[in-house]
Symmetry: C2
Subunit: 463 residues, 2 copies
């Protein structure tokens, strides 16, 4: 069972840089309100992510689908970006071999290689097309709206190559669409027969909260991840967090502690797993935390420009990169360690003929000692930190972790009094992109833009 240790956030350990037990007590009313608000939104059907752990039947269907089709293919490609890619990468990194795509089929247990080219970088996409044989490739195009520019652009590129390779009659046999059940461009294309299968993203599940929907589950199933266990782990966490008692609800406590520390100037939240396998989750968390909590307006319409900045780091690696700053720099951070009690492998460091002090230990002891040492060193320098402890990295633990972070984000949204489920700030960038690309309907925007670019070009400061 996942545990949250917030001891090192408390002022009895880290002094005035931390929070007192009294401060948690004083926040209790707000915490209960946050909890109730979230469950009220859920009961109104607004928070689909909270229903996903219970959809075991959907998971079973996806597993059957993966078993049916895996033998026809060698590669599985996810065409998606943001919430349609980060969860896929996190699950793969956490639950499969660290060099999965280099293993042969037998060592992959017969499952597929996975590629998630989540950018429109021409060098990346061209490189992917050099590397994989499209004849042996199954492609899942994921976009909830069905209109995401990056997703469609990569899809158009790959569709053309696919047609060249397998012919007009066969290319749809390599395509799955994962999108809204009813509307959007991808759904229309599916209805026209452009993909042989489709999966539905529930309308009330936002992109960054969608990893436990078909968005994350389909690619996971095709690499042999036990997605039923993933959901059952998430369900355990969901059940555990039904209480409004902050001392029993780890997601609520995490949100509360982070909120209080933010108010005390700990405006960055560094998520630092001591595990390469969990580094993908740090990246996935970055989107969840940043896009949900970084907001201009609060729920009352006031300008607040609020939001903690999530940062990813990796232990022990970043002890040789970032920890100097965390220990000695400004008091502007809280560290969230992700700790693994038992790694899936045990590696002995052999004794040496010269009796080196490391000989006879294990890498496990070394990395655990480093983790403990870093936590202690930070605490001694009055740097607040907390630890999320996973007994081991498994499907079930990953499910718990996902749901824990998602629910904590929803709670934090209530505490910050902002809407954690929209992303109005990226709209302008999208419109400007459309204008630059000459999309019909954006002619006015384009003129305005050209004016600004002309004006700016007179103010260029370039060395």
């Amino acid at each position: 069972m996942l545990r949250l240790d917030y001891s090192n956030c408390l002022s009895e350990i880290v002094g005035e840089q931390g929070i007192s037990r009294q401060e948690i007590e004083s926040l209790k009313e707000e915490l209960v309100k946050a909890h109730k608000n979230v469950y009220e939104k859920k009961s109104k059907g607004l928070l689909g992510f909270m229903e996903l752990p219970y959809k075991i039947d959907d998971a079973k269907k996806i597993e059957s689908f993966a078993k049916k089709y895996k033998n026809k293919f060698e590669n599985f490609v996810v065409i998606g970006i943001g919430g349609s890619a980060l969860g896929n990468i996190a699950l793969q990194t956490a639950l499969r071999h660290p060099y999965w795509n280099l293993l042969d089929r037998k060592n992959r247990g017969g499952w597929l290689r996975l590629f998630v080219p989540d950018n429109v970088d021409p060098e990346l996409i061209s490189g992917l097309l050099d590397t994989i044989n499209l004849k042996k490739t199954l492609i899942n195009v994921i976009s909830k709206s069905g209109t995401t520019a990056e997703c469609l652009a990569n899809f158009f590129v790959i569709r053309e190559k696919l047609i060249k390779k397998v012919g007009k009659k066969n290319y749809s046999k390599h395509l799955i669409f994962t999108t809204d059940a009813q509307k959007g461009y991808l759904r229309e294309l599916f209805n026209k027969g452009e993909a042989f299968a489709s999966f539905e993203i529930p309308a009330n599940v936002g992109g960054r909260f969608s990893v436990l929907s078909p968005v994350g589950l389909v690619s996971a199933a095709f690499t042999g991840i036990d997605i039923e266990k993933l959901l059952s782990g998430a369900k355990e966490m969901a059940e555990r967090c039904k209480t409004e008692d902050v001392y029993k609800n780890p997601a609520l406590m995490y949100a509360g502690v982070q909120y209080l520390l933010y108010k005390k100037g700990k405006i960055m939240n560094v998520v630092m797993p001591y595990s390469n396998a969990l580094y993908g989750f740090a990246d996935w968390f970055r989107q969840l935390w940043a896009e949900s909590l970084g907001k201009k307006q609060n729920n009352a319409g006031q300008i607040v420009n609020v939001g903690p900045t999530p940062i990813k780091a990796l232990g022990a690696t970043d002890q040789h990169s970032q920890v100097q700053l965390y220990i000695e720099g400004p008091y502007d951070k809280v560290i969230t360690f992700l700790s693994v009690e038992k790694y899936r492998k045990n590696v002995k460091i052999p004794k040496t003929s010269d009796n080196h002090y490391l000989g006879g230990h294990t890498l496990n002891e070394l990395i655990k000692s480093e983790e403990q040492a870093t936590r202690l060193a930070l605490a001694r320098q009055n740097r607040p930190n907390c630890t999320i402890i996973l007994p081991e990295i498994s499907e079930s633990a990953a499910g718990e972790l996902i749901y824990f972070f998602e629910l904590a984000t929803a709670y934090a949204g209530e505490l910050f009094n902002i809407n954690a489920f929209d992303q109005p700030g990226v709209e302008l960038g999208k419109q400007l992109t459309y204008a630059l690309l000459g999309r019909p309907g954006y002619e006015e925007k384009r003129k305005e833009l050209e004016k600004q670019l002309n004006k700016n070009s007179k103010q260029m400061h370039i060395i």
Copy 2:
């Protein structure tokens, strides 16, 4: 030639969140002083990184070495951490195929696959050993001091496996050590014949400034990167930055602008390449900036707890993850875009039968439009940002970029009035690790530690 566009950092574009030209003018005296201090340190022989671009003969020797031995091996493994790994990864990511290790030897031009397992995670190391055939593997063990615990632990593990695989007589033929010329444990082992070759890290080159030394060059040469061109690019930048005129010295301007923005509360510096290939440089830069500038004491011995926090992001991908926060959150960031004028590949988005607006464009146009749109959207919301423009990604451009960032870091150290070349904050963590592992000489530390752990265990707050 690399260019720095700092227009969008100026108040004429981003209002009071930016800096005025007058502020740059007023900083001129300090900038000249910073420049002079850096060159004075160089002339005293303290800043070895500034000499590296001129060591073309060393590069030639490394190239001959790589040509001589590459055909005996299939894999090149770097055993190092922090400054002994991040530069290697950055060069490989920037200058080789995005799926290099999946290409066959012919498509790699006969060069080696590269693995940089820069952690002591038992799952990672065990996974690596499953994946590569040690008989065909050349291993470069890199540690300047020759005592880095993570490096030695992984070395001991791999040495034992290697002996099992190729025998006591042959294992040293698979090992290179890169370390100090005279002292340290690794140098001693080399002198005992444990490696068939060694390379020297100059004593005056710090780990995070060492990518243009054998630390970064040897692995680059074994993957076919033209390391002479890399150095010549760095040299061009070095020559260009010999002037104390901030309007002609891009590294000095970058340091100055970042320093002024930090003073205005832009305490995070997000490095955001619009290129997957350059994402490794963002990670490399994180170490350089954080470890160099994050310091407790200034040069006068006063407690300052200073230091900007570097953050890595990736365009266009992070428009779907972090940009919401950058646009709407607190005014606490400056964005440093890394922009590529001409990608090495051109990918057409085919026209579609339904005349989709993306059809007929290229991925190149799409990603460039997104970059421009994001820059403009940030500027319109008064979010300072600057852009480092590379004409293309090449060995020469990578060399320029490396030297630019290294020198800017040295300048910034002078402006912040701290020592950019030490890392005292990580010492405590190391000592605590030694104590936990029972290293001889740390018995007292261990007792003290056990006392603290006992005390803390009574204050555990875990859910």
